[in-house]
Amino acid sequence: MEELDKSCEYLSGVCPVWCPGCGYYGILSALVEAFADLKLPTKELTLVSGIGCSSRLPYFVKAYGFHSIHGRGLPIAQGVKTANPELTVLAVGGDGDGLAIGGGHLPHVARNNVDITYLLFNNAIYGMTKGQFSPTTTLYPVTKTSPFGLAGEAINPSALAIVYGATFVARGFSVKKEHLKELIIQGIHHRGFSFIEVLASCSSFNTTDMNVARIVKNLEMIPEDHNPEDAIEALRLAADQEKIRLGVFVRNQRPTLGDKFQEMRRKAKGKGAANMEALLGQFA
C-alpha cells in the first residue's frame, strides 16, 4: 500500500483522456512505479512528447512536461538533455509519431547516443485521428484510409532501433506491467539512448494487431543467456516472425552525446582563450 502511495505521488491529478480499455493505462502505471522505485525527484524529471494518444502522457505525470508537435519529441528531448545534462529526460510517443512523421529523427538520436529514454507505444493504429493505418499495422489491413488493403509493409520498431545503433533496445508489453517497469528502470539507468518498444492494444480502433490473447499466446521472453552486445543475434530475436520476443535485445556502452560535447570543449580549449577579447583577435 505504501508503495502504491509513492507511485501515486508521480501522478499530476489530470485525468487521462484515453478510452476505457486502452493499453496505455498499463504503461502509465509501470512508468510511475518505475519513477517511485528509482526515487526520482519530480523537479528533475522531464517528459517530452509529440502528438497522438500516447503523447498526452506527460499531462498525467507530475514532472516538467513538454507536449510538442507531431513527430518532434526526440529532437526536443535532445535539446533539453544538451542544455541541462542533470535532468532525467524521457521521450514518449506512438508508432505514427515516431516512425512515420518523425521517423527521420530516430536514426540520428540513436547514433548520437543522446542519454535519454524513449518509450515508443506501439498500438499499430492512429487512435487519436480515429482509425487510420500506421507504419506498424499488419494484421488489420482494412482501416479508414486503407479500405482496399495496405500498400506498404510494416516496420518492426525494435529491429529498426537495433540497426540504427541504439545502445539499449528492449520490448515490453503493457499487460506485463512488472516486466515493463523493470525495462523502464533499466532504460533510465542505461547511460546512452534507450529505446523501449511497448506493445499496447487500442481498444477502440485496432484490437487485432496488438490483441492481448494473441500476444500472450505468441510471446516468448528473450533467453537469459542472450548476449546483449551481440547485435546480430539481437536483430534475429527482434525480427522473429514466429514469436513475439520480450526483454532486452541490446545493451552496450559507448560515449554519449554529452560525453562528445565535453570532449569537443576540451579540444577547443587548446585552440584559444575562452573570452570575447580572444575571439575578436582573429578579426583584428
Partner: protein, 588 residues
Amino acid sequence: MQSDLVLRVAGESGEGVITIGETLCKIAAREGIHIVTFRTFPAEIKGGSCMIQVRLSERRIPYHGEGVDFLVCLNQDAVDENLPDLKEHGVLLCEAECDLPEKNPGWTAYKVPFDRIATREIGSRISKNIVVLGALSHLLSLPKETIEKFISEKFARKGKTVLDHNLDALQRGFDFARSHLAKKDSYRLPKGSGRKRLLMTGNEAIAIGATAAGMRYFFGYPITPASEIMEWLAAHLPKMGGVVLQTEDEISAICSVAGASWAGGKSMTSTSGPGLSLMSETIGLLSMAEIPAVIVDSQRGGPSTGMPTKTEQSDLLLALYGSHGDATRVVMAPTSVSDSLRVTALAFAVAEKYQLPVIMLVDQALSARLETVDRETVERLPQGSRSCASPADGAPFVRYQLGGSAVSPAALPGTQGGEHMVTGMEHDERGNFACDEETHTAMTVKRFRKLAAIESDPLVAEFCTRLGDENSEVGIVTWGSSAGPVEEALAIAKGLGISAQAIIPRILNPLPHQELKTFFGKVKRVIVPELNFVGQLATLLRSTYRIPTIGLTKVKGVPLAPSEIVEKIVEAESTLNARSTRAYGRAG
C-alpha cells in the same frame, strides 16, 4: 587626393581573387580605413567566374560603390565581363595577354605578365595572386611591410617553402610594376585614421553577436549562404563552454533549439529560406509554448532551391506570417555587418525577455560581405534576460498567468516546485490543454500583448533610424541590406539638389508604429526599395497604414544600385512639383 576608392578584382574561382581582395581589406582595416565589400560566388563548386569589390574610404560608408575606380582582371573573361563597370577615368590592371577594346574612353591600362612571373620566375602558378598584390602595392602605394607581415602570418603554418614562394611573388610583382609601369593615374589607398578596425563578414558578425549575447547552444543544418555562421560557431563556441550540433534537418535543428531553450539555455539556429520553410510549424510551437529562440535566415534568390549563391530579400512575408494560426513572433533585419552584430544581440534580448521566437533576416550579400566594425560595437550590445520564478512549494506552478504583465515568469526544469506542462495545444494558466472559448481568446490576447510591449520597450528605441532631410516630402522606407544603397542614394540626390528622407526600421514585426506614423504624416511620396518581386515590405505598409506606395523592386540576385533609387527619387520629386493629379506611381 581622393578619400574613397572602389577596387574590384575579377578572375576565375581558384585563382586567388578573393585572397587579393581580403588581403587588401585586412591591410586597410589595420590602417583604420573604413571598408565595405561585395563579392559574387560562382554556382560551381570549383571554377567559374568570381569577383570581389572593395570600397575603401576615410569616412564610414554604407555601400560597396557603384562604378569601379580600379579594376584588376586576371584573365580575358574577367576583362570582358567587368570592363563595362569601370569608370571613365578608371584604372585597369590586367594580365599582359588580355586583349582590350580599341575604344578607350579615358582609362589607364597597366599590363603585367602575372602568369609568366608566377610560373616561370617563381615556379609556382598558385602564387599568381600574390604577384598581383605586389604590383598593386606599388600602384596604390600600399604599406609593403604590412603586406609582408600579413603574408607571413597567413602562410607561416604552410611551411617555409610556401612562405618563401609567396614573399618572392610579392617582391617580383612589386619590382615588375616599379620598373615597367610608370604611374599615370592618381589613385592610391585612402588615408586611415590609424585606429585599427575589426574586419568581419556579416555571418561572422552574427556568430560573434550571438556568442557575446551568451548563446551557448547552436543547432543547425548546412545551407548556403548561412553555413559560415555554424562553421564559425563550431570552431569557437566550445571554447566558451557551448555546443554546436549539426542535426539531420532544419526541423530537428529548431526543435533541439526549442528543447535547449526550454531547459534554460540561450539557443539559436541559422538557415536560409528553404530551412525557414521547414521550421514554420515549430515557430508556431515556440510562439504557443512561449519559448525564446533566435532563428537567423540568410535569404537567397527565388522560391524552392532558387539561386543559392545570389542575394534577395524575399522571405519577409514568410518570416512575418509563416506557420498556421495566429502565431506571434518578432522579425528583425539588420542593415550592415556592424548592425548585424547589434541586432543579433537585440534578438536574444527580446527573445529571452518576451519568451518568443525572433526571426532575424539577413541576405546572401550581407552574410558574405566583409566590412570594418568598430571594436566599441561589441562592448555596447543590448541586453535582456528571461524572467524566472521561485515557485512556492505545494501550490501548482502557474506558467501562463493571465492578467498583469503579458510575460509570465518561467520555471526552468530542475526548479523545485516548478513542475508544469508546456504545450503546443491551447492551454490554461497551468499549461493543461483547454479549448473553451474564453481561454483561447484570453491566451491569444496574452501572446499578442507581448508584441505591443516590445514596440514601446526602450530596448528597441534606437533600432529605427531616420536619414536625409527631415522636411522633405519624398520619403523612403526600406529594410535590411537595401538600407546601404538608400543611404548612398540620399547623398547622391542631395548632390543633385534633390532632398529626400528615409526611415529604416530594424524591427519589422512589431513595426515601430509611432515613428512610421510620424514619418507618413510628413512625406507625400513613399518609395519602398527592396529586393523581391511583389514588394513585400510595401505590401505590409499598405495593409497596415493604408498608404499608397511607390515600389522599387529588383530580382536580379544582386543588391540595389544607388542610381536605381536616385532615379525613383527624381521621379517622385517631379510628380510633387508638377502637382499631378496622378500623384502616385503604380502601387507595388
